[in-house]
């Protein structure tokens, strides 16, 4: 009870909880779930964009895309490390992913169907992710907060690169403009859903707020994202596929239409267009790589034995 009181006081004072500190089991569990889910999203998120590396239409864009996907792998690594400070191993987390117990961001269960998807993922998907993640830089758990500072910095860079790639395409041929519009049409609503269900239907959020893990509500973040994105879409010259989207002078915000939550939950629950492919691709990579990982372990053991022999 004394520990709990000290923990609560630290949270209330906006202080940081560190790995060696005592923390309630529910706090630990919530963080492990959230951080590992975030790590899985980075790793699975390499696939839809990776889909276009071999076909990137210029060497510059190919290099930018490889660098971006590589960064996502790096984010996955920091985040797995952050989760490991809470006493769970990477293998445990990967098992949970591969067995379907752990989730990852549902946005990656949609296919990338044309080259503009890569730009739109940078602009809108990373944009939405940043909105979600910036508040996490002030999260109460130290290692997660610090990982998020680095992640957000790189994600902002990716977002700008994505937007810039779309600007170039919109200045190009009719076919290029059509690609961008097609990609925006397919991704816009899915991005709005990335902020999670409406606050009224999101009971988990309260505890998250209390613990300083979640700082802003789903609906507030969504509104902030829409308000930031509409002017960017205008500059770009694309139409956001929502006839209800218009400025509300009174609210000082953009109004927007109904999100298809049924489709969102279908996808979250495994019935999106690419859920099976994404997961089986990860499982296959893991299984196919087993002999490589085993070799590395075996070699390390042999090295150690040799060192011990020499020392003896």
């Amino acid at each position: 009870a004394e520990l709990m009181a000290r923990f609560d006081a630290r949270i209330d004072a906006d202080g940081r909880i560190e790995p060696q500190d005592w923390m309630p089991e529910a706090y630990r569990k919530t963080l492990v779930r959230q951080i590992s889910q975030h790590a899985h999203s980075e790793i699975v998120g390499m696939l839809p964009e990776g889909n276009w590396i071999s076909r990137a239409p210029s060497l510059k864009r190919k290099a930018i895309l490889i660098a971006k996907v590589q960064d996502e792998g790096g984010h996955g690594l920091y985040l797995y490390s952050a989760a490991e400070t809470l006493g769970t191993s990477r293998d445990q987390m990967l098992d949970a992913l591969h067995s379907g117990k752990a989730k990852y961001s549902s946005i990656f269960n949609y296919p990338t169907l044309n080259w503009a998807d890569v730009g739109v993922i940078g602009w809108l998907v990373d944009g939405a992710a940043i909105m979600n993640q910036v508040p996490l830089c002030r999260c109460s758990y130290g290692p997660y907060a610090r990982a998020m500072v680095r992640v957000c910095k790189e994600e902002s860079f990716h977002q700008r690169q994505g937007y810039e790639a779309l600007l170039v395409m919109m200045k190009g041929t009719d076919e290029q403009r059509a690609m961008v519009q097609d990609a925006v049409n397919r991704y816009w609503w899915k991005c709005l859903a990335m902020f999670g269900p409406p606050d009224a239907d999101s009971p988990n959020s309260v505890q998250g707020m209390r613990w300083g893990i979640k700082r802003i509500s789903n609906d507030d973040l969504r509104q902030k994202f829409i308000d930031a994105t509409v002017p960017q879409a205008k500059v770009l010259g694309v139409t956001l596929p929502d006839p209800d989207l218009k400025w509300n002078e009174e609210r000082g915000h953009y109004d927007y239409g109904q999100i298809d939550w049924d489709e969102f939950w279908q996808t979250v629950n495994g019935n999106g267009p690419c859920n099976k492919e994404r997961l089986s691709t990860r499982v296959k990579a893991h299984n196919d790589g087993q002999w490589v990982r085993e070799a590395a372990l075996a070699h390390a053991r042999k090295q150690q034995q040799r060192a011990m022999k020499e020392a003896a």
């Binding site: 076909r55 239409p57 864009r61 290099a63 792998g73 170039v168 990579a285 790589g289 075996a298």
Partner: protein
């Protein structure tokens, strides 16, 4: 085409083709660290290719640009070593899909990086100042590629029975393709004559030493080579390059007037 442009294209094609191959692991590696490492190798190679193509475009003049050179030349115009265009598994016709084998990837990266540390080192003294500058930059990168692939060669060779067998098989499969490094070509001779290029044949004993040293540590047997000597650097490729280029170039060629 000038001897220098020809030679730059050889170096650039090597880099872009192996960069394209290494990137195929992205999202499919045996561990996240390896996804990142191979993406990094790929990124370095694409970066080298860009600088080399840019320099070649300057040499060539006209409407040549890095992307025209990478995306709008056909198979017989590519001058890369055949070794670099092979898929990540042992001998199979180009259109027979098969799995990615990490042993093949590591052995190829090792054999090529061991050559290129020597080549870039010498090319720092190229009479072409731009190439000398590219060589200095590339040397740093390829040293990392060599370390990465050599470390894994040793791990796989000295690891488990299975990994030993797999990496030895990859070595047996790929080593004959290294014969192409040492056979002369008019393209290389011309570049050597002007002081722009390096005489690769003269690097063989250094390369042998690098390779033998690593193989010994990896407990692998160096296979005897002989038989057919590939000629990718002269534009005579395997059936694999056509598939690689068709995937790589397709989108760019479908929109020849677009900028990206």
């Amino acid at each position: 085409m000038s001897a220098t442009a020809n030679y730059l294209l050889h170096l650039a094609d090597n880099a872009v083709v192996l960069g394209q191959r290494n990137a195929e692991w992205c999202g499919h590696g045996p561990a996240i660290e390896e996804d990142i490492a191979l993406a990094n190798v790929s990124l370095d190679l694409i970066g080298q290719a860009r600088l080399l193509y840019q320099q070649a475009a300057t040499e060539l003049g006209g409407d040549a640009t890095e992307d025209r050179l990478a995306y709008f030349r056909d198979v017989p115009e590519f001058r890369n070593y055949t070794l670099l265009e092979l898929p990540h598994h042992s001998a199979l016709v180009g259109y027979a899909k098969s799995d990615l084998d990490y042993g093949t990837t590591i052995v190829r990266n090792f054999l090529y990086s061991a050559l290129m540390v020597l080549v870039w080192e010498r090319l720092q003294q190229s009479k072409d100042e731009q190439l000398a500058a590219i060589a200095a930059k590339s040397l740093k990168e390829v040293r990392y590629h060599l370390r990465h692939s050599r470390d894994w060669l040793v791990r796989l060779g000295d690891g488990t029975d299975e990994s030993h067998a797999r990496v030895q098989a990859a070595l047996d499969h790929l080593m004959p393709y290294t014969q192409e490094f040492w056979t002369g070509s008019s393209m290389e001779a011309a570049a050597v004559a002007t002081g722009v290029g390096v005489d690769v044949a003269a690097l063989k004993s250094d390369w042998d030493a690098l390779v033998d040293d690593a193989l010994q540590e990896a407990t692998l047997v160096r296979p005897a080579v002989g038989g057919y000597v590939t000629q990718g650097k002269n534009g005579l490729h395997s059936e694999h390059l056509g598939f690689l280029l068709s995937e790589m170039q397709g989108l760019a060629r479908a929109h020849p007037n677009a900028s990206w």
